[in-house]
């Protein structure tokens, strides 16, 4: 994180109802140290702006070809083709595309700008016990920005939640936790070698940080993305459940069944998507929920 006063985000969703209590506004920070095969926000991984394409919106006007300063767009066999090697995501084509078939994901924003957006739904938060959730990506990658933003939210009595991978420097997560009222903490895989294989990083730090936050008495919802064929085996579920039962501050575990949204988005930003499974059947979800409940855990499907 280099610029303290600003951060890079890729989306703001209002009426967010799966990322913590009540009606919330979720801010999606861009950049993530993990590269999960099933990532449902592939556009969150890189910290740089990226070009997202919506071919079904394209009306074939070829404006993009005309305006691209890097000649990254051309007509090949009557198809508009974007050479992503030449594209620097400058956004000129997106600004000029009449049909919004080209968009830049990722923009730099200030704390003040975000606060303006967050404040828009403050009455909804008040009514519903909601607030703001910072998700990503990994919000702690921009921890100073995160801290500044959430401090301001707390001063405005807006409830704060952060959805994290937990793959964060321990000192940092503890320090910023002062302005975080709820952690949505991902537990993807208990087996470390598998964790490394499927996410690119070890889960050692993740588990350690969760314990630290737990000891610090932070309010935590554990989140378990259910990915068929990767983490839905009984062994992993049991180990997850055992780990969570050993903690005292985790109030519930949310099972998040895989869905195909991420695959679509990966295609739109020209990224390879590694997971090729299907979303879990109701039976699989039920089996997992039952297993977790067997450990006396409060389980919810979805956030």
């Amino acid at each position: 994180m280099n610029i303290v006063s600003g951060g890079i985000i890729f989306d703001i969703k209002r009426f967010s109802v799966h990322d913590g209590p009540g009606i919330r506004t979720t801010i999606f920070f861009k950049g993530c140290p993990l590269s999960c095969w099933w990532c449902h926000n592939p556009e969150s991984q890189s910290m740089n702006p990226e070009l997202m394409l919506w071919p079904d919106r394209c009306i074939g006007c070829e404006t993009c070809i005309k305006v691209c300063p890097n000649k990254a767009v051309s007509l090949i066999d009557n198809m508009i083709v974007t050479n992503r090697k030449k594209c620097v995501a400058c956004g000129v084509c997106a600004d000029n595309c009449p049909a919004s078939a080209r968009e830049i994901v990722g923009r730099r924003v200030s704390v003040e700008e975000l606060l303006r957006d967050i404040e828009k739904d403050v009455t909804f938060y008040d009514e519903s016990g909601g607030g703001v959730t910072i998700s990503g990506g990994e919000p702690f990658l921009q921890w100073e920005f995160l801290e500044n933003l959430l401090k301001e939210c707390r001063e405005r009595e807006i409830h704060t939640a952060v959805d994290t991978t937990g793959y964060v420097d321990s000192d940092v997560i503890l320090r910023v936790s002062d302005v975080i009222e709820l952690f949505l903490y991902d537990l993807k895989l208990m087996d470390d070698s598998k964790h490394k294989y499927y996410t690119g990083v070890s889960n050692g730090l993740i588990l350690k940080n969760l314990k630290l936050l737990d000891s610090a008495g932070k309010r935590i919802f554990a989140r378990f993305p259910l990915i068929p064929g990767i983490n839905d085996d009984e062994d992993n579920i049991r180990k997850t459940a055992e780990f969570v039962s050993g903690l005292s501050s985790v109030e519930e575990i949310d099972v998040l069944p895989y869905h195909k949204g991420g695959e679509q988005k990966a295609k739109r930003i020209g990224k390879r998507y590694l997971y090729n499974g299907e979303q879990p059947t109701d039976e699989v979800v039920e089996r997992v929920v039952n297993l977790l409940q067997g450990y006396g855990l409060k389980v919810k499907i979805g956030g």
């Binding site: 209002r14 799966h18 009540g22 009449p98 049909a99 919004s100 828009k120 009514e127 979805g302």
Partner: protein
């Protein structure tokens, strides 16, 4: 539901509506008789009413406990030739049309040809009305600038309070007699008129009592022949009840329902008023009977539910009277808009939700009928579990109940001078418009097409569809230097058409007052008896006239597009824009896409667009609110469309928001279909920037995917959304819980989706019955989801 209810419900749902000539014949007979000669208008109407009630066929259906039909049988739909005399061609259309058909038999056509048409042609209100309209009115009407409610149906929107549960018609007769005794023929120059009106009310009261007694006679007759001892007993009980109500006030829950139903039938027989008639705050009216009956062992919850369900079926048996022409276009449905209210507050302002409020919601959910409509009134004082119960019914996915904000409704009433008690006891009716129940004549007179008015501004008063000069000519918009100049021109054009419409209304209101007074209706509305004045002539305590504004979403987006691209960014000239519109964006798809995608839009909590919406609302309010009507009351503003946004869309060419020619307009105060992309909280913020407290009703449609409501938490969050909208003083919100995929599938396989009911505007209807245009419009509405 039990077997009895199931059977009767099925009969009601499966019977096709058809035209019955019974009423037309009876009223013609009476008007042609010696008896009719030399009567004053109110006496003529009262005696005609009595003649119908004494001679129409009495219908008691197998197994039913609440009796009485408007026609000779369920779905046999009467006509009102004194208001609108259908031509033979009309009858053909009714019989053959795809949407809302009414079967017309050869006998009906024959009697129309030989008897009804020869007598009423040129004499009906419709004929009188069109003959009386000035030229500028006709031009605007033909161009689709506004519609006219009174050309086929009588003023309605009348809702009952609790008076019939305390007083029988013999008591009303006493009140009438007293009012006649109090007339001062020496000092009141109108005493004779008042006496005629009061005498007419007295005749009408007798008519209803006699009508009920005829049901008692019929029930006894049926009982005599009945083999089944249980049914025999029921018929005898029905006979006893019909001999008691409506002459006397009801004593039991069952009698209360039957009392209302007779009153209702009188109402829809005297005229074909808009929005039929409705009991209003049903849970409040019935609760004392319910509690007493249960305490005294006469009634169980199950029996009460059965009676309510049978009561529901009675409404569904009465389709809206057959409409034709533009009246049909603006309200293309069998639904007759009786809107039953539950919840809200009591006269003293306390929480009114009771056990019956919940029981009625159970009935709504179980019956799944398009009629009657049901709504909940939600006050901040009502418990959350009441709201959540309502949302669980909404979740069942047929658009009922709609949800109204009692607290802002009270503000709306107080602003327009109602007493606090009358305000608390009032509520919405029809789609969304409020009235002081039992005390107000609240007349919706037609829709005003805001977008057409803007189109006329952009074309210097000329209707581009016909080349005719329809509006005032304020110059070529290419010469406008600023957005303010354009907005100002719109406001002047708007004022012109509101003036034209009011001029027409002033004539029409007097035509009704002079030719078609409503003595029966007048018995039921305070203070008609006390004042000796008719419902149509100023009798009710409060008298409000509405012209309903339509198209705020489409017009805001169109104006925002002009402001943004032409005046602010100057990337587009007015010339270029108007040319593209003229050619319906042929060859200008790039431009159209920019207008659609790169322009601030209403419904996104973006002040750039929303401030235009607010200005448009204020402009409408300023030209209309507070102007006098002919009844000593005032004009007020409301914003709703029924199905007119389809018709109004058809008469408007391409618009600067990228909408192509003849496509639907936005509905109610909802954003343009698909233009709202920031989720439901942004929609709510946007639409709440309009000052709802200065309206008599606004309509907001929201479509949610069913997944949002799958969990208890989802239901809670929707409840929070509603509560927050109401904190912002939103008037009304309603939901479709269905996906576009389901609706597309229903279009492909209508036979499999016969029962699919969707929310249209202030009402629900069978998706397969509403016609392709409206289907497409509903599909195009933004699908809200939870993120």
């Amino acid at each position: 539901m039990n077997e009895r209810v199931r059977k009767l419900r099925e009969q009601s749902v499966n019977t096709e509506p058809y035209v019955s000539a019974e009423r037309a014949i009876l009223i013609t007979d009476f008007y042609q008789s010696e008896e009719a000669k030399g009567l004053s208008a109110p006496m003529l109407r009262a005696r005609a009413f009595k003649y119908i009630m004494e001679n129409k066929e009495i219908c008691i259906n197998d197994g039913e406990l609440i009796v009485g039909e408007r026609g000779p049988a369920p779905k046999a739909t009467p006509t009102y030739p004194e208001l609108c005399c259908h031509s033979l061609e009309d009858l053909e259309i009714l019989d053959k049309r795809e949407r809302t058909p009414f079967r017309v038999s050869e006998e009906v056509k024959k009697v129309y040809k030989e008897k009804i048409i020869p007598f009423w042609k040129g004499r009906s209100m419709r004929d009188m009305l069109f003959n009386a309209m000035p030229e500028e009115w006709r031009k605007a009407f033909d161009a689709g600038v506004f519609t006219e409610f009174m050309e086929q149906r009588a003023p309605g929107h009348a809702i009952l309070d609790d008076k019939i549960y305390h007083k029988g018609f013999l008591d009303f007769k006493k009140d009438i007699a007293e009012a006649r005794r109090n007339l001062d023929f020496f000092n009141d120059p109108l005493a004779y008129d008042k006496d005629q009106e009061l005498q007419a009310m007295d005749v009408a009261a007798d008519a209803l009592i006699r009508f009920a007694e005829r049901h008692a006679e019929k029930a006894r007759e049926l009982a005599e022949r009945e083999q089944d001892p249980v049914r025999k007993q029921e018929l005898l009980q029905i006979a006893e009840i019909c001999s008691w109500v409506p002459a006397h006030p009801p004593r039991t829950f069952w009698e209360a329902l039957q009392m209302y139903w007779f009153v209702h039938l009188g109402f829809v027989t005297e005229y074909n008023p808009w929005d039929s008639f409705n009991p209003g705050r049903l849970d409040q009216h019935l609760y004392p009977f319910y509690r007493r009956d249960v305490e005294e062992g006469r009634l169980t919850k199950e029996k009460a539910k059965e009676l309510l369900e049978l009561f529901w079926i009675k409404f569904n048996n009465q389709p809206a009277p057959p409409k034709v022409g533009i009246t049909e276009e603006q309200s293309a449905t069998y639904q007759d808009f009786a809107l039953i209210n539950v919840g809200g507050v009591k006269k003293d302002g306390s929480d009114a939700v009771n056990e019956l409020s919940y029981l009625i919601l159970d009935v709504v959910e179980e019956m799944r009928l398009i009629q009657p409509s049901a709504c909940v009134q939600l006050s901040k004082k009502n418990p959350d579990r009441f709201l959540k119960r309502a949302i669980r019914v909404v979740k069942a996915g047929f658009g009922q109940p709609s949800i109204f904000n009692t607290d802002v409704i009270i503000q709306e009433f107080l602003r327009t001078g109602k007493s606090i008690e009358d305000a608390r006891l009032g509520g919405p009716s029809g789609c969304v418009t409020i009235s002081a129940f039992g005390k107000e004549s609240c007349t919706l007179t037609g829709y005003m097409n805001w977008v057409k008015i803007f189109e006329l501004v952009l074309n210097n008063g000329v209707d581009p569809l016909t080349g005719e000069v329809v509006g005032i000519q304020m110059g070529d918009p290419r010469d406008f230097k600023t957005f303010e100049e354009l907005m100002d021109a719109y406001k002047r054009q708007l004022k012109y058409f509101v003036d034209v419409k009011i001029k027409g209304n002033n004539i029409i209101e007097r035509l009704y007052a002079q030719h078609l007074p409503a003595p029966y209706m007048s018995i039921l509305f305070d203070d008609c008896i006390k004042k000796g004045e008719d419902y149509h002539a100023g009798g009710p305590r409060y008298r409000t006239t509405y012209i309903q504004g339509v198209g705020i979403g489409s017009l805001t987006d169109s104006m925002a597009a002009v402001k943004y691209h032409v005046f602010d960014k100057k990337t587009l000239s007015m010339e270029e824009l108007l040319d593209a519109m003229k050619n319906n964006f042929e060859g200008k798809e790039e431009l159209r896409q920019i207008l659609v995608n790169k322009t601030p839009k209403y419904g996104n909590d973006d002040d750039y667009a929303d401030s235009i919406a607010t200005e448009l609302f204020n402009a409408y309010f300023d030209v209309l609110d507070g102007r006098p009507n002919t009844k000593g009351g005032k004009y007020r503003v409301n914003l709703l469309p029924t199905t007119v946004h389809i018709y109004f869309g058809k008469v408007v060419g391409a618009m600067p928001n990228g909408r192509k020619a003849h496509q639907p307009l936005s509905d109610g105060i909802s954003p343009t279909q698909g233009a709202d992309v920031n989720g439901p909280t942004a929609v709510i913020k946007s639409v709440a920037k309009i000052d709802h407290a200065r309206t008599g009703g606004t309509l907001l449609n929201q479509k949610f995917i069913p997944q949002v409501l799958e969990t208890e938490e989802g239901i809670e969050k929707l409840a929070h959304l509603v509560r927050t909208y109401f904190r912002f003083d939103g008037h009304h919100i309603q939901f479709n819980v269905v996906t576009a995929d389901t609706l597309r599938e229903a279009q492909r396989k209508p036979e499999e989706y016969k029962d699919l009911i969707v929310r249209v505007a202030g009402y629900s209807d069978y998706f397969c019955d509403i016609g392709r245009d409206l289907q497409e419009e509903i599909i195009a509405r933004t699908e809200q989801e939870g993120f």
